[in-house]
Amino acid sequence: MLLNFNYDLFSIDENIEKKIQTLQNYLILFEQSKNSNTFTELNALMQLLESSFIVFEEHLVIDLFSHCKDLCCHLNAKEQLTRLYFLLAMAYFKQNEYKIASTHFIQSAKIATNSAMYDHTCIAYCYTAHCFLQMTHYEKALNYTKTALWFSHKQQTSDSFVLNHIYYQFCLIYKTLKLPYVNYYMNFLDEFLETEGYEQDKGKIYSLKASIQADEKNYNKEYEYLQLALACYLKTYNLNRQIIILNSILNCPASLKTTSQQNQYIKQLKKIEQAFKSAYSSFSFKKQLLQFDLDQTKYPILTFDLNDVDFQKICEDTLADRPYLFIVTLKDQSKLTSAQMIHKYKMIEEILFQEIDNDAIISTFLEVQLIFLIQKSVTKDNPSLLPKLTKLIENQVGPISYGYAQADQDTVSCRKLYNHAYVNFYYNHTN
């Protein structure tokens, strides 16, 4: 049985803007469904979580996992529970948390087996193998792949999509181990390349082929395969993969490649990088997301009780390699409309981007607040960023009230971080 699960999490024929819009709609649907029955709520929530990967909002899965799991349990919805664990695993997988991801992939596989969703078991096993490969546990990676193949035979799975996942995994492991068995499994993948659709998977295969050719120093062949991979990924709107492939193309020393082609790819890369940046800092969605937290923001106790001196200290702290969230209250809130505020304070963000030249800052407006989420790479490289930011805003609007929080071991999402920052802000503002 092959379920209608989308394993690549990047469906075709839609652009990013449309995806963001879709995600917002799902968010609204989910909010509205809370007033209806649990079945409708679960469906809306699953749609939201499925879509969250498209615009880098997969933290939503981690955030809403517990609630979604409760709904699945309440409704005895095994299929959704299987999928939920898979999405959770994918969220961790994308954060390079392979150990945690593997645990959830296994959990997803086990629930799938119990629910006779054998195709899903095999695919989840392939992803588990991939996690072990990333952790350099080669024997386990091979074991999971072999078991996936055995299990697909046992359950008489003949679906080419499932088998493609398994053979691809074999190729990847044997290539990593530098064992001469890659071509044997590549023959199966060549057959898969003849099928219609599955652009994401085809892109992966061509990319692997290119990498094999690169190892053998056949750069012209590598170039050809990279071009094919790019053609596939361009159909999927997987911007991240497109950028990776384009960078490989630009760095490929193929004699076939002309200067005009090289220039063309440089232009294409710039264009895609811009689209990636815009998708990554999709303010509109963040705004929607944070509205969810309004009822949770008034914590009875102060989690982070920091004064200005402590604040400075944190900024300079070399251990501060976790995300910050920074909230600023705007004095001219009543005079300006939301659109005007965005226009006015957009400048701050532009300056930040220019100065830092890093995409790891997300800014948004939540009613009268200007919010910055600063990711760890920025804080690590720029320990004085937060005081600089404060100064920058004060130059723009005069004295401000602000709140901030730094993620700790227990902070798993932007939402929790926001709550902490808000508490800090609340006390600074009122006392």
Binding site: K78, I111, T113, N143, L149, W150, N183
Partner: protein, 220 residues
């Protein structure tokens, strides 16, 4: 076969008591079994969740491993454990009597890894068998509610200390007898059903080995 989806949340293996096998084997052999579970984690994880709720299934799996990995003249059954673990010993006996099992057991020749793989396949077969038995008589629910089999060492029920309170754990013994009888009768009434399940385990075993030991022709 599960009624409660909550059971799917449990990702841990059922607790296996050390030194509780029907066979008297060394501590090293117990540890070796744990090591093999880790080594063949992928295979072991293909056992569905509901196997964890099947009484004694994991213990029987381990007993079978010890049986397969030791030479017959080295195997000594613990004298009182056959009585304490009546269901387990009955299941073991039924499996050992199977022609399909004897054939494969002979070929394994006490190889530890093969013994482990085959015992895992047999666990799957026993689980299927238990599901069929449960359909005839819903003893499963009674077992689950009357006796907490998980994480409780049944040997304590027969210990001297316990005997002072209750001379003989009658209710427990009756339930065990009932389940053991149910298994035996099912095989007696329909021997081919049980035999087919073991045959299927044999097929799975050989196909697993074929894939596991398969070395493709290299391009070198």
């Amino acid at each position: 076969m599960f009624n409660d989806i909550q059971s799917l949340q449990n990702n841990h293996l059922p607790y296996l008591f050390h030194d509780s096998s029907i066979y008297t084997v060394s501590k090293i052999q117990y540890e070796q079994y744990i090591h093999l579970i880790e080594q063949y984690e992928a295979l072991f994880n293909t056992l569905p969740f509901s196997t964890q709720d099947t009484p004694y299934l994991y213990d029987v799996g381990r007993d079978l491993y010890f049986y397969l990995s030791n030479k017959p003249n080295q195997l000594i059954e613990h004298p009182s454990y056959s009585l304490i673990y009546l269901v387990r010993s009955t299941l073991l006996l039924l499996v050992k009597k199977s022609e399909a099992f004897t054939k494969t057991a002979k070929n394994i020749q006490q190889d530890t890894e093969l013994s482990f793989i085959y015992s895992t396949m047999l666990m799957s077969a026993i689980w299927e068998f238990h599901k069929a038995a449960q359909k005839i008589d819903n003893i499963y629910f009674e077992i689950q509610t009357t006796l907490i089999f998980k994480n409780i060492d049944l040997r304590t029920l027969f210990s001297e200390k316990y005997v002072e309170i209750e001379p003989y754990p009658k209710k427990f013994a009756t339930l065990q007898q009932k389940l053991a009888k149910l298994y035996s009768n099912l095989v007696k009434e329909n021997p081919s059903f049980f035999e087919n399940l073991i045959e299927q385990a044999n097929v799975d075993f050989s196909s697993y080995l074929k894939i596991y030991h398969f070395i493709p022709k290299g391009d070198a």
